[in-house]
Symmetry: C2
Subunit: 201 residues, 2 copies
């Protein structure tokens, strides 16, 4: 875009910010200028907190989520229902479920999904760890809460098969019309599923 | 949002990313999770490039823009017209003007604007430095290219007065209908200006 290239350190900063999800070149440049011109303290803070997070955060030995302890507060809590295990793709998904206040069991965070097209198979996802988790601390039911995307469905399908083979009860979260939405604005695929999975009670 | 708070290092990272322009809490969280889950190398790179930019970039002694040298390549170039000085608010504005290929003079980057409401007066902007720049290396004309916002206009007005008092020729970039736009979609204020500032040649 520019006739003269940015000075090297600025160029490299823009390139690095450009790798953030949803941040294009133009926004990255705006961010870099903003940090250097108006918020050098904030810039230093970002750099510092990234390093701190990279160094201090580890994965909970039970649920694989981010934590500073060996066992995260959820897994360590005696007030949670240890007989239920909800499998989610990301720590962000775990947060969304917590925010719903509708679940009081434990979690397992896959930190990804089976995605054959991207070369992410069961091995790369380290699903062995989930299987060990389930065998070491038996649960009554595993709830698969991966996303309703192609990859999320593949992951749920694969996990369901393997877990059922071990004699574990497996369920999948319900798919249907979102709460508060009008049928007129819901896509046909969702309506078809809502009809197929209709409840009789 | 979450029932259980994020672990401290994650919380602090989200807070820090949240200070970036245009990045809300939810996006900051998504970025933090993305960095930790999928792109730890990218995260380290961002941290490193921020530090590098903070440490290595300084302000050009002539134009105040970001550079790694004492004098930036534009100010040092003998192929530029040293008799013209274009005053802009930010280094990003300088880039936009360079990208237009329509200007071959030098620049002065204010790194801000006079904004009385935010407590930024002429002093805080260090306008003395611009005046010294103009006196030390005389120019034939100063082109004010601050934004057409309240603050940009105030800045241009103030600079214009002081510079004219020193006997320096001052001009302001043209305001009018943007290139390629249809009158029907241009705001009335812009059209009024385009009429007032019509050209007869």
């Amino acid at each position: 875009m520019a006739l003269l290239p940015d000075p090297e350190p600025l160029f490299e900063l823009i390139e690095a910010l450009n790798t953030l999800p949803g941040i294009g070149k133009r926004t990255a440049r705006r961010m870099a200028y903003h940090l250097l011109q108006y918020d050098r303290e904030g810039a230093a803070k970002i750099s510092e907190t990234i390093n701190q997070a990279l160094n201090e955060l580890k994965h909970c030995q039970m649920c694989n989520s981010f934590t500073t302890e060996d066992i995260c507060p959820i897994c360590a809590s005696q007030r949670r229902d240890h007989s239920l295990l909800c499998v989610v793709e990301t720590a962000a998904d775990l947060n969304m479920i917590e925010a719903s206040h509708g679940y009081h069991g434990l979690y397992y965070v896959l930190m990804g999904k089976v995605s054959p097209l991207d070369g992410v198979g069961a091995q790369k996802l380290n699903l062995e760890r989930l299987f060990h988790r389930v065998l070491d601390y038996p649960v009554q039911e595993v709830i698969l809460a991966t996303n309703f995307t192609a990859e999320g469905e593949t992951t749920a399908h694969y996990l369901g098969n393997v877990l059922r083979d071990q004699g574990i009860k497996v369920s999948r979260i319900a798919r249907g019309v979102p709460s508060g939405s009008e049928l007129e604005y819901v896509d046909a695929g969702t309506i078809a599923w809502a009809l197929t999975e209709r409840r009789t009670d």
